[in-house]
């Protein structure tokens, strides 16, 4: 083998190795470390003893954790469904060759440029019955109008959904729009010649062709919802009375504020397993398709 060929062989590996090492340490090593801590009696600082699943038992006997898990499912389900439905709807409307499309697209995309802290704070004020929407409408003359979900523990989680949907819909729209643009218009024309109505064309022809776009949106939005920490903190601070607690806020509180590092680690592992349950099948199916394509 000539020296040049040797270089060709080793250069990619050499270039990739630092990032590989960083990922191995910063991601996988810490996953193992967290798992280890979750089996120890760690409170304020890490301890490396072994107490079995005691911390998991403690975690699952904490009512606040049950609230957090329930909220995660409510939030993820609603957030994904509404964002995808709205994003797709907007993308289809924008795809009708409307005037000033570039401007409209930018308008819908702008919320995505904000941080969740800004979104959360703004919506905290909009949803506050004494400051925001309710007050404005009451002053306009409709005095019976009530919109105080954010004050009600059983409804506050929907306020988090509203703010998150507002922020992410434009993003979903952009991806769907790109997907729509990639579809060959002759297919639509062919369907029209066959006499299919427009709604039918979209439902049976175009939406199924958007499958790759759907997958990207679902994966990206799921991970936004799992890590929805800043939004909750800014919007409700997990209140009223821990009604909008999320696994991420629970983990932070347990680990850093309540000296329950073991419980915090256990909750982190539970979150990891939830994500893995979603991502692993997805990766598996994607990788399998890759192999088929070759």
């Amino acid at each position: 083998m000539s020296p040049k060929n040797k270089l060709d062989l080793w250069l990619p590996r050499l270039v990739l190795s630092p990032s590989l090492l960083a990922v191995l340490i910063a991601v996988y090593l810490f996953i193992v470390w967290t798992a280890w801590i979750s089996l120890s009696s760690s409170q304020m600082v890490p301890k490396f003893d072994f107490v079995g699943v005691e911390q998991y038992v403690r975690l699952w006997s904490t009512p606040r954790w049950h609230t957090a898990v329930a909220n995660l499912f409510i939030f993820t389900a609603l957030f994904l469904t509404i964002t995808i439905a709205l994003g797709l709807f907007l993308a289809i409307l924008l795809d009708q060759k409307v005037r000033a499309e570039g401007f409209l697209r930018a308008v819908y995309l702008y919320p995505m440029a904000l941080s969740f802290i800004v979104t959360g704070t703004a919506w905290k004020w909009i949803l506050n019955p004494d400051l925001g929407l309710q007050k404005v409408i009451n002053e306009l003359g409709w005095t019976g109008f009530v919109f105080d979900w954010i004050t009600q523990p059983s409804f506050a989680i929907y306020c988090v959904v509203i703010a998150a949907v507002w922020q992410s819909t434009g993003f979903a729209m952009a991806i769907f729009l790109a997907g729509l643009r990639a579809i060959d218009t002759s297919i639509i024309k062919a369907a029209q010649i066959e006499g299919a109505s427009l709604p039918r064309i979209y439902l049976n022809v175009i939406v199924p062709m958007l499958r790759p776009a759907f997958l990207s949106v679902i994966v990206l939005l799921s991970y936004i919802s799992i890590k929805s920490f800043d939004l909750v903190l800014a919007l409700t601070n997990a209140g009223p009375g821990s009604a909008t607690e999320m696994p991420s806020t629970f983990m932070f509180a347990a680990t850093f504020r309540r000296n329950q590092m073991g419980v915090g680690a256990a909750s982190a592992i539970m979150m990891l397993m939830t994500v893995a349950a979603i991502i692993v099948p997805y990766l598996y199916s994607e990788l399998r398709e890759d192999r088929n394509a070759h």
Binding site: R58, S61, N128, G239, A243, A253, F256, R258, N259
Partner: protein, 416 residues
């Protein structure tokens, strides 16, 4: 101490803050970032400068010090602790048990500091036989702040019991004010709850239920009655309390929109900043009780074990600056609290601080000096957290008092 080298490795990659200690520097982590807090801190650092040491500020604000603690964990793991750090509640004792804090016994003995401090306070600066921190100030937590004009208009005077306070609410509402200003944040609710708990049931009960976490006291009828009273207090609060910051609530009292607020004396600064005068524009009295008590919150600085003699000498200078009577006086005039030392005169302080000082003297004698639960001076954070959760939930839902007590007992047992 067996802290992980893995953590250390991850930090090595992060940009390293100026590690080189130049001669005569004292570096400290604290979470004082508001304007008055920074000004107050300058009193101590100026004193330190006269002793020939410069202060290196490592302020980590946010989340009531949780961010600062996180910064400390990282620094300790990297084997690079700061010279000193501000501690609230059990934090100092917990770190002392980890063996990372320096014993300050020689300084205490030399200067007789232990005699200048209230015995109940010593419990938070002494780990076993070792003094591990020096306290700069003492806030009183169980205050009731009132707008004088609103009180006069409604014909209401300083209430003498919680039942009276609740009854006064109606008169204040009739006078057009929201009786009690507060936010729905769980810690604000806990402030009210623990005030009722000790004011109605007395210091002994508080010690049993909150400090000793005695299951009998926690599940007693007195506890249920405390929740019942808290439910009545909910009726004094307006519906716009969602996400309201404590300082905003203080502002409502200052503006006359609301009549009262239950809050520690850090609220005083908000009134003073608006140019209001104690006794003239606003009133301060302890939360109503026939069993006088004093709930305290202190800020103390601990010194970390370090190898080099220069830093150790700097720590000595820092501790002496903090415990200097004149520094304690000037610092607290700005911060709104009273000196941690019981032997510093408060003649130049305002009436609220004077009352605080007198009440403290009485409470020390009567054994009614108690640590505040909300700020972490009564129970360890994992237990205080259960109180926060249950009381916060109770206040914003229609949970029954009995269920709340059950949740409290279960939660405490689960965290044990």
């Amino acid at each position: 101490m067996k802290l992980t080298t893995i953590l250390a490795a991850s930090i090595a990659l992060a940009p390293v803050a100026a590690m080189a200690e130049s001669k005569g520097k004292v570096e400290g982590i604290h979470h004082w970032v508001s304007e008055s807090e920074v000004k107050a801190l300058k009193v101590i650092t100026d004193k330190l400068a006269t002793k020939g040491y410069t202060w290196e500020d490592s302020a980590v604000g946010g989340l009531s010090g949780a961010n600062a603690l996180q910064a400390l964990r990282t620094r300790l793991a990297a084997g690079n602790p700061p010279a000193t750090m501000q501690f609230l509640g059990y934090e100092g004792l917990d770190w002392g048990k980890q063996g990372v804090l320096r014993s300050l016994n020689d300084l205490y003995t030399k200067n007789g500091w232990d005699k200048a401090l209230a015995p109940q306070l010593l419990a938070f600066v002494k780990n076993g036989d070792d003094f591990i921190s020096v306290p700069i100030n003492m806030h009183r937590q169980n205050w009731l702040w009132a707008n004088k004009a609103v009180f006069d208009k409604a014909g209401v005077k300083e209430p003498k019991s919680w039942d009276e306070l609740i009854a006064d609410g109606e008169k204040l509402r009739a006078a057009g004010a929201i009786p009690l200003a507060m936010g729905d944040e769980s810690w604000q609710i806990l402030e009210v709850f623990e005030a009722i708990l000790v004011d109605v049931n007395g210091p002994e009960f508080y010690k049993k239920a909150v400090i000793d976490l005695d299951e009998g006291a926690l599940s007693s009828p007195e506890m249920i009655a405390t929740f019942d009273r808290l439910r009545k207090v909910r009726g004094l609060v307006d519906d716009g309390f969602t996400g309201r910051d404590w300082a905003v609530a203080t502002g409502m009292v200052a503006d006359g929109k609301a009549a009262m607020q239950v809050m520690g004396d850090w609220a005083k600064g908000e009134f003073l900043a608006k140019g209001l005068k104690p006794g003239v524009d606003f009133l301060c009295f302890p939360t109503p009780t026939d069993k006088p008590n004093f709930k305290f919150v202190i800020d103390a600085f601990g010194m970390f074990k370090v190898d080099d003699a220069v830093t150790t000498a700097g720590q000595d200078a820092w501790a002496e600056s903090i415990m200097d009577p004149e520094v304690q006086k000037q610092f607290n005039l700005i911060k709104g609290s009273i000196p941690a030392r019981s032997d510093v005169s408060v003649d130049s302080f305002d009436d609220c601080a004077k009352r605080s000082y007198a009440d403290r003297e009485a409470a020390v004698k009567n054994g009614a000096m108690l640590g505040g639960l909300t700020e972490g001076f009564a129970a360890q954070p994992q237990f205080a957290g259960v109180f926060t959760d249950v009381v916060g939930k109770f206040f914003v839902t229609d949970m029954s008092s009995k269920d709340a007590v059950q949740a409290l007992v279960d939660g405490i047992n689960n965290a044990r």
